[in-house]
Every structure is written in structure tokens, then in C-alpha cells.
Point group: C2
Chain length 120, copies 2
């Protein structure tokens, strides 16, 4: 379970990245890498909330005709958060500054998800 | 309340766009423009679910230090859905095909939100 190298690589590759984590749908982070800028921010409490919402959307997808949820993003005043499903139990979450590279963040999560899945 | 022209302009400007709507946080669409491709899809039921989630995230933002939520996106197998807050009671929602132009969609919603707000 060598997640940390993948999480570090995500944060280093994405301009404006604050932190990247592998999280369970129960809202508990398995492993996290955060940049020095992120230390003073309380990202965990929003991640727990987002895990809850993502879990809810995944459940609702069964009754909707739009298919399984693969990705979610929430932009707020101080943080942009991108999430991508890795497996039925885990997802990747990336927090960025609002001026961070959103497109690069989505791309890097997409290519990293299968690598993390392979380690699970 | 001439929303429709703005919604049509969003759908016409964004490659892959299926439908655009002004919705209340109660999940009721005020006005919708949809492309011919969208007619057979049941987008409404997912929008009601997303309105619910967005409302929940907005409420949670008070207790989080990440600031007010401005935007949310959910990518599922068949549809990508982008949402942007317009006012405390309304938001814009744009449904696109998965191969649609995500970045253009975000940009067009950002510039359209103040125009729609002015009509409310």
C-alpha cells in the first residue's frame, strides 16, 4: 500500500495544489500528503462532508439514468476540491487554491486513480 | 424574467451541451432550454438530487473554513452536470455529454450567472 508517493506526485504536478488524500466513503482518510501551504487550513472537516455527499450521489445514481458517478468537484471561496472514485470503497480527493490549475487537477486524478487502485 | 435567451445561449455556446436550466434550491426548475439530443434523457430526476446536495453543501459551508460554495460539478457515465450559484435561492445547471467541453461549460456558466441574476 504505497499510496504516499502517488499522492505526493499529484500535489507536485498540479499548480496550486494544497493536499491530496485517499479516503474511504466513511470519511476517514487512509493516507494524505499536504503542501506546507495547507497546514493552517482545516480541510478534513470539509472532506468528511464531501465523502458523505459523494456517497449519497452514488446511491442516487442507481435510480437515475445518468450512470455511475465517476467524479465530483466543489469550488468554494477559498478552496477548490476535486474527487475521483478509485473503487467501491475509496476515492481520491485533491484540494487546490481557487487559482490552481483545475483542468490539470482533473487530468492528474484521472491518471492516478488506476495506480492507487492497483495498490489497494 | 427573460431567462430563456440566456439558457439557449449557454447550450449553443458549449459543445456537447444537452440542457441548461435556472433552478430553485427546492429542486423546481424555473426555466429550461434543452437540445434535441436531451429529449430522451431524464435529466430532471438527477437535477432534483443535485439541488438537494448543493443545498446541503451550502449549509455545511457555514461550519467549514473553506468559504461559500460557488460551483459544483458531477461527472457520471452518461452525463456531466455543472452547477453555479446565481443567488441565495437559485442556481444554473448545465448538462453535457461526457465528451462535451467541460472548461467552456464552466466559463460560460460563470459569465452567464450575473446576467441571469439581473433578471431575477
Amino acid at each position: 500500500m504505497a499510496f504516499l508517493a502517488h499522492l505526493e506526485a499529484v500535489v507536485n504536478q498540479v499548480p496550486g495544489a494544497l493536499a491530496c488524500s485517499v479516503m474511504g466513503f466513511d470519511g476517514i482518510p487512509v493516507e494524505t500528503h499536504q503542501s506546507d501551504d495547507a497546514v493552517e487550513m482545516d480541510l478534513q472537516s470539509s472532506w468528511v462532508e464531501y465523502a458523505n455527499v459523494l456517497s449519497q450521489l452514488r446511491g442516487a445514481a442507481d435510480s437515475m439514468r445518468t450512470g455511475a458517478v465517476a467524479e465530483m468537484a466543489v469550488s468554494s471561496e477559498k478552496v477548490v476540491t476535486l474527487m475521483r472514485l478509485v473503487s467501491p470503497d475509496y476515492f481520491l480527493v485533491l484540494a487546490m487554491r481557487p487559482d490552481g490549475n483545475y483542468g490539470k487537477g482533473r487530468y492528474v486524478l484521472r491518471v492516478t486513480a488506476p495506480k492507487v487502485k492497483a495498490e489497494l
